[in-house]
């Protein structure tokens, strides 16, 4: 972004970035909150949380469809943007990909701003 090729490529390419991981352990739903851009996850109780540890983790096709449905509804309600269902490691809500781990925790170069301890 220092030099910014970002604009034209925004949403569709970003989802492509989140291509699935074959060894996926599960799925969680995430996006950025519209009003402040903060990273949020769908929680087990149906609310949205900034804490990835509270994320609702699904391992079945039906479960994944439910995550998508929730994202869709929240997007349509103008609550979040850049919605995506992402992979987690087996038996934890820790995202599988480094990109998503960094989204969940914060920049690795600023531990002082971290939202949680790194895994």
């Amino acid at each position: 972004m220092a030099d910014e090729n970002t604009q034209v490529i925004e949403p569709s390419e970003i989802s492509a970035h989140r291509r699935s991981n074959k060894a996926a352990g599960g799925k969680i739903a995430t996006g950025n909150r519209l009003r402040d851009g903060v990273v949020i996850y769908l929680a087990a109780n149906g609310e949205w949380t900034t804490d990835v540890d509270q994320a609702r983790r699904e391992t079945t096709a039906d479960g994944e469809a439910a995550l998508k449905g929730a994202l869709d509804a929240a997007f349509k309600a103008n609550y979040l943007i850049d919605a995506a269902v992402i992979d987690t490691v087996p038996s934890d809500t820790k995202p599988a990909r480094l990109r998503e781990q960094i989204r969940a925790v914060g920049p690795t170069v600023r531990p002082d701003l971290a939202r949680r301890a790194n895994w």
Binding site: M1, A2, E10, E13, F75
Partner: protein
């Protein structure tokens, strides 16, 4: 410095008001994200990994201390206390809340700053040599034409929806400090056959996935005709540039596809129609602009400046900093100070609100209230009296920015990479930090000599890796960060694109690889031969051999 007239000021104020309304409608759900996204991008507001990111334009890298003060205030008030200076001479804030953006922009507008022309397929914020107006080797201050280009390009109706973004850079000295040959248009101030000042025009350069060094398309353009010539280039591009494929939409692809000669022919033909159409800036307007860049009231200073020479003689650390970070000023008794935003192990280009505000104070006290941003992610105090250098150096030490590493291995460009950027494949900053730690001692840096390392976190090349003497590009392989190394790139007047050495390295192997390259260079260099010159003499073979020998 240029001060907005009432037209500019009104434009910016009206834009803030307009965007305030758009944000309100978006938050109320009256605008969809698809409708809103282009509107926010037109104001420099992106969505990145952690939040919205706001990019603020600093036209041709020149700002007043009051503007820097305001940037510090913005970091403190609306962000998490820091900002990031980029290779586009901009500043980016990483933690912006959409709902606060209208107020933020309103505050910025008070000092004539904004995010216009920092995004979208328009003519972007123009960049220039950071030593404009003070360099000893300058033919003419490039900010005069930069400002003319800024006024001409802002909201230019014909060029608001180009096939792709468009970047113009201007250089006024013999030494190219603005990397003009890597821009869509590069303008080099030159002297014509009769000694008159004019411009050499390069077109079709760029980085990204298809790096191209721009060909020279006109060796001499009379000064008065610049805007009509630029307009001719833009017209040809706007007409023939590809809109069907985002990867082929930049002007560099057009110039390459039809050839520089044919492209030039078309531009000249278009220009013949345009040059008398009143596009060029009237003489009166040009001299009005020029007045804003009149030299500040320099003092007549007799050489040598005794206190300065004494400080240099008695303090080796200060002497080292003067040697690396202070350039000769065109006025005797003054120096051009580059503040390295690259402390050992730091984040290249990052500055806290406190640091920005202190630097603004220094500028006010010692540099006629002026600051510059460089495309190497450093800041410049352009007008410091030699007698004040020691005090400035000491103050900079207090805020952690007194590193004597300008142009050396510690002066690394790194894009935000995967730590912040939504398009990244790999992290850039940690790699820069590791390299800077490894080569941290002044002795080692001096031994190595001038060496530019540039790091990008993806092929978009915001970290200018193609132009790095050592370029590092982060990619993703099988879910892991991997780094490709190129050698021999240069962004100066001898512009060249770095060549790929071989297979990539894992994150924890990059520093060792860089060290091997450096050691190879030290062993094979001839007396006084800098890294780039040595590489150009011997080519990549010896480096490749050493790097992949035992692998």
């Amino acid at each position: 410095m240029y001060i907005y007239d009432k037209f500019d000021q009104t434009i910016v104020r009206e834009r803030v008001a307009e965007f305030r309304g758009q944000v309100q409608r978006r938050l109320a759900g009256e605008l969809s994200e698809d409708q809103f996204r282009p509107l926010r991008l037109m104001n420099g507001l992106y969505l990145q990994l952690h939040a919205y990111m706001l990019r603020v334009a600093i036209p041709y890298g020149t700002m007043s201390s009051a503007q820097l003060k305001k940037l510090a205030y913005i970091a403190q008030t609306y962000d998490r206390g820091y900002g990031h200076f980029t290779t586009r001479q901009n500043i980016q804030y990483n933690w912006i809340k959409l709902e606060q953006v209208p107020d933020l922009l309103n505050d910025l507008a008070e000092v004539q700053l904004h995010g216009i022309q920092t995004s979208g397929n328009c003519i972007r914020n123009v960049t220039a040599d950071q030593f404009s107006g003070v360099a000893g080797d300058e033919i003419e201050d490039p900010r005069i034409v930069s400002e003319a280009v800024r006024q001409w390009s802002t909201f230019h109706p014909e060029f608001s929806f180009l096939p792709r973004k468009f970047k113009i850079a201007v250089n006024g000295a013999a030494r190219d400090r603005a990397a003009i040959q890597f821009h869509d248009i590069g303008i080099q101030v030159v002297r014509g056959p009769e000694g008159d000042v004019g411009y050499a025009i390069y077109a079709g350069g760029g980085m990204g996935r298809t790096p191209v060094v721009a060909p020279l398309i006109r060796a001499f353009l009379p000064k008065a005709e610049l805007l009509s010539y630029l307009e001719a280039i833009l017209r040809v591009y706007n007409r023939h540039g590809r809109r069907d494929n985002i990867y082929k939409a930049r002007i560099k692809i057009l110039v390459r596809e039809i050839g520089a000669e044919e492209f030039t022919r078309q531009v000249e033909a278009e220009w013949a129609l345009l040059r008398n159409e009143g596009v060029n800036l009237p003489e009166a307007e040009m001299s009005r602009i020029q007045k804003f860049f009149a030299p500040p009231p320099y003092e007549k200073i007799a050489a040598p400046v005794v206190a300065f020479e004494q400080a240099r003689a008695s303090n080796p650390a200060f002497a080292r900093w003067v040697e690396t970070n202070v350039h000769t000023h065109k006025v005797p008794g003054y120096g051009v100070v580059t503040i390295s935003l690259k402390p050992v192990g730091g984040i290249p280009g990052d500055a806290t609100a406190e640091q920005m505000s202190q630097i603004a104070d220094l500028a006010e006290k010692y540099s006629f209230a002026e600051v510059r941003v460089t495309h190497v992610q450093n800041l410049v105090l352009p007008n410091v009296k030699q007698a004040d250098l020691f005090a400035v150096w000491q103050q900079l030490g207090k805020i952690g920015f007194a590193d004597a590493n300008l142009g050396l291995i510690g002066d690394i460009i790194a894009c935000p990479g995967l730590d912040y950027c939504a398009l990244a494949n790999a992290r850039s900053i940690p790699v820069a930090q590791q390299i800077s730690e490894r080569f941290r001692t002044p002795e080692r840096m001096k031994e190595i000599g001038p060496l530019q390392i540039k790091i990008s976190g993806c092929i978009n090349a915001c970290g200018h890796h193609h132009a790095g003497h050592i370029g590092i590009l982060g990619v993703e392989r099988a879910g892991e960060e991997l780094y490709q190394i190129t050698l021999g790139g240069a962004g100066d007047e001898t512009a060249s694109i770095g060549e790929l050495l071989g297979p990539g390295f894992k994150g924890d192997q990059v520093v060792d690889a860089v060290e091997k390259i450096v050691n190879t260079y030290i062993e094979l260099r001839q007396p006084g031969e800098e890294f780039l010159a040595a590489y150009r003499r011997v080519g990549k073979a010896p480096f490749k051999e050493r790097l992949y020998a035992s692998a």
